[in-house]
């Protein structure tokens, strides 16, 4: 946010911030009461819940943490009271900093309360558990794809081009990645797949850039039509090529590359240091894009082009070239994201990205067009995507179809709650004509 010298503007900004803080505080209070009443008092007094920490598919874990078994009602009431307390604290004190951090912490507590409630069992003999490590690993897969997508969005939109086609780049990358990984089918196959996925995503980005920059077409229309095209093209190719030649779609999963020693750390090890190469690539890309956009001359040019292309052109920056470069690079990143999705899900299937590209766009907005913010937002969305598919196996009195709506509803809530208050790059989505 730009702080202006004008007193009036300053007051407006402060009052908007205070209003937003109040809204977040109210949300937290509601979550706290809900936890207290439903997850706490709603559970019978002798119900137990257990949480396990063992890494998935690991028979020779060098360490072991026992299961944590708790009384559902009392644990959740304590969690609910903490959430309620934080909410009241924020409402009364209206702290200037750390509101979102508190909100993040509260969301995590709420999630634990939800899970404790979902796995509760009444009898003392058989205690069902939820595996925290499995939850984090599962969420990291969706999160990773969303990070790739939102980084792609950041690259394009910082240069002033709206990339709605991320979903299409996911589809293209996933398809090409699956074919390449299956055809090569050796130790290096996912390196080739990532490379080809990047090329495919970059080409889709080039198509978008070509139509949007050279012919000044509407970026949103072109993006939406590109997604439709890629969706139907992948469906066509799936029936025409992959079905008769199943060898093109073996569905290999990218092998984990454990980092020596570090991967043995309890919980953190399997989540952060025993992932496929795509995970490490994602972390490197986040750092790289942050550095490039905010610490280099190139990044300064990009942001100038995204904020005020005419001014940028005046000082000798080639606006159209910068936009071409960024849209193609952004497309390549999203293409790799598609390969990463395929590498964590297996066989290419039509429509299996199910709107993740659009959720990634929302994550980018939520992250305020910053790579670091996009990561935080992607984690929230990633966990909700994973939970919506995992909660079904537990004791939840909600239809699995209703659960499936949650990631999308959360996306809508986030976009509705934030978009008026975050500021996109000023020239985002506006065609630039060099006169």
């Amino acid at each position: 946010m730009t702080v202006t010298d004008v007193d009036g503007a300053h007051e407006v900004i402060t009052s908007v911030q205070s209003g937003r803080t109040r809204v977040i505080a109210v949300i937290m209070i509601v979550l706290g009461l809900f936890t207290l009443l439903t997850f706490g008092l709603g559970a019978s007094s002798h119900a137990h819940s257990a949480m396990s920490f063992a890494p998935v598919n690991s028979t020779n874990a060098p360490w072991s943490l026992g299961n944590l078994t708790v009384l559902t009602r009392w644990t959740n009431m304590v969690l609910g009271l903490i959430v309620l307390g934080v909410g009241i604290e924020v409402f009364v004190r209206q702290p200037r900093r750390g509101v979102m951090a508190r909100f993040g912490g509260v969301s995590i507590l709420f999630m634990f309360a939800l899970l404790f409630w979902a796995v509760r069992t009444d009898g003392p003999s058989q205690v069902s558990t939820f595996n925290l490590t499995a939850l984090l690993i599962g969420s990291s897969a969706a999160t990773m794809v969303l990070v790739f997508g939102s980084l792609s969005g950041v690259m394009c939109e910082r240069a002033g081009v709206v990339n709605i086609a991320i979903e299409g780049q996911f589809i293209g990358g996933a398809f090409a990645g699956s074919v390449v990984a299956s055809v090569t089918n050796n130790y290096f196959s996912f390196y080739y797949a990532a490379l080809v996925g990047a090329v495919v995503g970059g080409l889709i980005g080039l198509l978008l850039a070509f139509l949007a920059l050279r012919y000044l077409s509407d970026q949103i229309i072109v993006g939406v039509v590109i997604v439709t095209m890629l969706g139907s093209l992948s469906s066509y190719l799936n029936l025409q090529v992959l079905t008769p030649f199943p060898n093109f779609n073996l569905g290999n999963l990218a092998p984990p590359l454990p980092i020596p020693l570090l991967h043995k750390i309890p919980i953190l090890g399997p989540v952060f240091f025993n992932q496929s190469g795509f995970f490490y690539l994602m972390i490197a890309l986040v750092a790289l894009v942050s550095f490039a956009l905010f610490k280099t001359k190139y990044g300064l040019h990009v942001r100038a082009v995204g904020e005020h292309p005419q001014a940028a052109a005046t000082v000798g920056i080639n606006v159209v070239r910068v936009r071409y470069i960024n849209v193609v690079l952004g497309g390549a990143i999203a293409g790799v994201g598609g390969v990463a999705f395929m590498a964590s899900q297996g066989q290419f299937q039509v429509g299996y990205t199910s709107g993740l590209g659009y959720i990634a766009l929302a994550a980018m907005i939520f992250g305020r067009w910053r790579p670091s913010g996009a990561v935080v937002a992607s984690i929230i969305f990633g966990v909700s995507v994973y939970l919506s598919y995992t909660l079904q196996q537990f004791n939840v009195p909600v239809s699995l179809y209703i659960l499936q709506m949650f990631p999308y509803l959360i996306t809508i809530a986030v976009v509705a709650g934030l978009i008026g208050r975050v500021r996109p790059p000023a020239a985002d989505g506006i065609p630039y004509r060099h006169d």
Partner: protein
């Protein structure tokens, strides 16, 4: 290109050709976009059909091989497009047979009937999307709105029992209400929180798919005695029955009158009503609209109500005219008329009559794609690829003119208010 500045009289043939081409610019560009779209489809068929690839692979084996490969290539593409044409418009040999013997008219007319059947809900949904586009609103959620319209409409059509005069209008009304409900939320969110409608409507599409699955497995809507995701069957009094009777074999139905009514309504609404005028002004110049006293927030909500209502109507018309019940694949994949509607509205330049022609074209492509899949095994999704390619070309008329070396004059390009996330 010749240097026109130094040559005051350009070559006459070229000039008349250009003049002729430019005289009906929009139509010419659309026609050329169709040609280019079919060319894209031909390239895709060529590069993905095993028989064609095998023929080209052997092109160095003998002197005649390249010619043979070319022939195989043209045969495959030709058969595909011919079956598309025969299956969606008319089969010339069947037509000749009917004409000479007076028999088999049902078979001869089936392709046209199928295309019309496909086009009926498509026109309605596309007009809804087009009205939103004209107001500068991207309603990408027409499919979700059609799904909710279908759910509510089928619920009314199957659970209530009344005479046709009341039941059918009530069913259609339920569809409209469903679409309006689903459209109202993005509209309200956009108006009062600034949430961009593209993301919200797309998310609602997925929410509505989940809701459809939920509804189809619920005791209220699921066909009694069924384990699958199939809804109750609508009463015949709530269905749009075939125009020529149920035994005619032709599926074209009374929904055609609903479509015609919607087209007339859209023409009247956009060109004659004051609300429609407000819509168009808002789309053309939001600040001018604000200055002249148009309440932008109210307009946004109303646009979504109109657009969503029409999409919902399309959903229930689709259900009531073809399969009188819903199943899990209702409006999914290539059957998602809400997505096709976006491309149709763009192709028809958001005008009612333009949308009618565009719907007929895309309906023919869709129905033809089905026929092509039946005859040649080439998946019908190719039709959707061709449709999106056509729209990409129509959205960039300058590109089309450059490809065909036409003089670049002012075209009726898609004039939409381009904007970022915040407006």
């Amino acid at each position: 290109m010749t240097d026109t500045a130094n040559a005051p009289v350009a070559p006459k043939v070229r000039r008349t050709y250009s003049e002729w081409m430019n005289s009906k610019s929009a139509i010419v560009v659309t026609a050329l976009a169709l040609v280019l779209g079919l060319a894209v489809g031909a390239i895709i068929i060529t590069t993905t059909t095993p028989a064609v690839i095998d023929a080209w692979r052997g092109m160095f084996h003998s002197w005649g091989a390249p010619g043979h490969a070319l022939k195989v290539n043209f045969d495959n593409v030709g058969t595909a497009y011919r079956s598309m044409f025969n299956g969606s418009i008319i089969d010339p040999s069947g037509f000749w047979h009917s004409l000479t013997t007076g028999k088999g008219w049902t078979n001869t007319l089936t392709p046209v009937s199928e295309t019309l059947t496909y086009a009926i809900p498509l026109v309605i949904a596309s007009i809804g999307v087009g009205i939103a586009f004209q107001t500068g609103i991207f309603n990408i959620g027409a499919n979700g709105q059609a799904v909710l319209g279908g759910i509510l409409g089928v619920a009314v059509g199957s659970m209530l029992h009344m005479p046709t005069v009341i039941h059918l209008p009530l069913t259609l009304l339920a569809g409209i209400v469903g679409g309006m409900l689903c459209g109202a939320v993005p509209g309200l969110l956009k108006a009062y929180t600034g949430a961009h409608e593209v993301i919200v409507t797309i998310m609602f599409n997925y929410v509505m798919y989940a809701l459809l699955a939920f509804a189809l497995f619920s005791t209220a809507l699921q066909q009694p005695g069924q384990q699958n995701d199939v809804s109750r069957t609508m009463d015949t009094s709530a269905q749009l029955s075939p125009l020529f009777g149920a035994n005619s074999g032709l599926r074209v139905n009374y929904g055609i009158f609903v479509s015609i009514a919607v087209v007339i309504f859209a023409w009247w609404f956009l060109d004659r009503s004051s609300l429609g005028f407000d819509f168009r002004v808002t789309g053309a110049n939001p600040s001018a609209a604000r200055a002249s006293g148009v309440n932008a927030k109210v307009v946004v909500v109303l646009v979504f109500l109109v657009s969503g209502g029409l999409a919902g109507l399309a959903g229930i018309v689709q259900a009531a005219s073809t399969t009188p019940q819903l199943s899990g694949n209702f409006l999914i994949g290539s059957a998602g008329i809400g997505f096709t509607a976006i491309t149709v509205a763009l192709l028809g330049r958001n005008r009612p009559m333009g949308i009618v022609w565009a719907s007929l074209l895309f309906a023919a492509l869709g129905v033809g794609g089905r026929a092509m899949q039946g005859t040649t095994g080439i998946p019908l999704d190719l039709a959707t690829v061709i449709q999106s390619a056509i729209v990409l070309f129509v959205a960039t008329p300058v590109l089309v003119k450059e490809i065909f070396r036409l003089r670049n004059t002012q075209t009726n390009a898609l004039q939409l208010a381009t904007k970022g996330w915040s407006s």
